[in-house]
Amino acid sequence: MATLQLDGLRKSFGSTHILQGVDLSLADGEMLVIVGASGCGKSTLLRLVAGLETPTSGSVLLDGRDITKLDPAARDIAMVFQNYALYPHMSVAENMSYGLRIRGVPKDTIRAKVEATAGLLGLEKLLARRPRELSGGQRQRVAMGRAIIRDPKMFLFDEPLSNLDAALRVQMRAEIRRLQRRLGVTSLYVTHDQVEAMTLGDRLLVRHQGVPVQFAPPMEVFARPATAYVAGFIGAPAMNFLPATLDGHNARLASGHAIALPNAHPGHASVTLGIRPENVVVTPNGLPMTVDLVEPLGSETLVHGRLADGTPLLVKQSGAMPVGEVLYVDLPPAELHVFDAGNGQRLAA
């Protein structure tokens, strides 16, 4: 149980600046998810906290203690790696107990802890096996077991689910969240998957091209994305974007159709309107959309099409729906997100 604080953490390799001054603090027991496409510096950040990389400047404080220069072995932080990084020459039990054996924990304590952890993760029958005799999901569990068995101050997760198939990923995602809640260990979770980000985090840090763009609880990131990038990244299927020009309260689409916005945004002539596919309303007297693809998913239907001016639009409707060649849609002003067309920043709603 611990708090984590990062002060002005920087990392450069030569003239390449991976991280530029990261300030972040995690409350005790909090799970923070850092999400972003590859190259946003999220893995480097995690490795700096782990101690596997040395920061160029700045400091890492765990429970108020400066651990910036401490060897990873002395930090008491556990990490779950993307490829699990299990010790191939050791059995499951040996893999899990390695950290305890280093610390000289008595043998019967180790045995009891291994059994308890294996029970928690459903690994009781696999303790004697080698990692290569396990399936992906089982390896993932062993990696989790190795992390939780020694009651570390903190967990680090480096895209732990990205090597699993889709069904297993959903299952393990829920398991990780349940375990983390139950154990109440402060956690830092790095991923490029927006669903993991949404479901796992107490708070979400979205990074883009080496800089943080939004830091908020998941639902707030979803409801009020700070930039067009965040809006397109969080939420599936992705948000629709339509270029428009502003004239007082009116936004005019490329087709000439005008929408009365709830707020005026003086000083912004051209904007990007964003609307999530599920917020598009199908109505007989709406804008005509030429349909070019229908994807029935059972519980919902995705309709891909183009507005009269050629702007692509995706519509999500629950249930099955009969679709002709043209669909009439309405974009409710209350559901529109308005971003500056130039820098992509959200305009105050």
Binding site: A50, G51, L52, D71, P72, A73, A74, R75, D76, I77, A78, M79, F81, Q82, N83, A85, L86, Y87, P88, H89, Y98, G99, I102, R103, R146, R150
Partner: protein, 290 residues
Amino acid sequence: MRRTIFPGWLLPAALVLPQLALTVVFFLLPAGEAVWSSLTRTDPFGLSSVFVGIDNFNDLFADPLYVETILRTIGFVAAVCVISMGTALLLAVMVEGVVRGRGIYRTMLIWPYAVAPAVAGVIWLFLLHPQIGLLGRWLNHNLGWDYSLNGTQAMLLVILASAWKQVSYNFIFFVAGLQSVPRTVTEAARMDGAHGFYRFRTITLPLLMPTVFFLIVVNVVYAAFDTFGAIWALTQGGPGKATETMLVKVYRDGVINLDLGSSSAQSVVLMVGVIVLTAVQFRFMGKRGK
């Protein structure tokens, strides 16, 4: 492995013929002749020989000097293996930690492998000869270093010279072996709290064992059968018989003392050794492939 299907047998036969011819002329015929002459006894003038069955072998193993040579060779081989592999492993681990100029270190550490055994011997002679050696004169003056008189020192010298050359070879394999140990596995061990040498002993070394086994076989073969040049150039097996390994004894008995029967019998014993070691190695490599 890719298989190529030839239309007839003429082309494949023609393709393997040169290699087969070389093998027959330079390996099979001499080996056959050695086996034959190991079963004969030649008169002192080399004019006639008589078939004596396995008498040469019986004489050999009844000779306490030969048994002593075998034991000396085993000691020599073990020392060369331990020193050359130990040094190479240490250097390989240290190079892992080098960031700048890693390529230069590696290249320079690989060079000695290109030096012929006899030349390696001469280099060590220039360095350690008690009268003309750069270091040897100082050692001679201060520590009574003279390997032409002191058998232990002579043994030490031929071990060093033989091991030195093999360090390069072992180094290459250890560097490759260390690279195949997944980085994240050692990182996971660091996160688990394992410090330096403990981590090396419990994680890196076990994962390096396939390389170690392979190199043990290669080094034993090298030390037992490929060090004649270095030893002959340095000590000619002396002083006395202090550095006379089985290989040196084959040469001394056959070429210098002209006891062809016994020398051939000894080379047959060595040949059996090579065959056994090669079989072990093939078995081991086969297992690795599975």
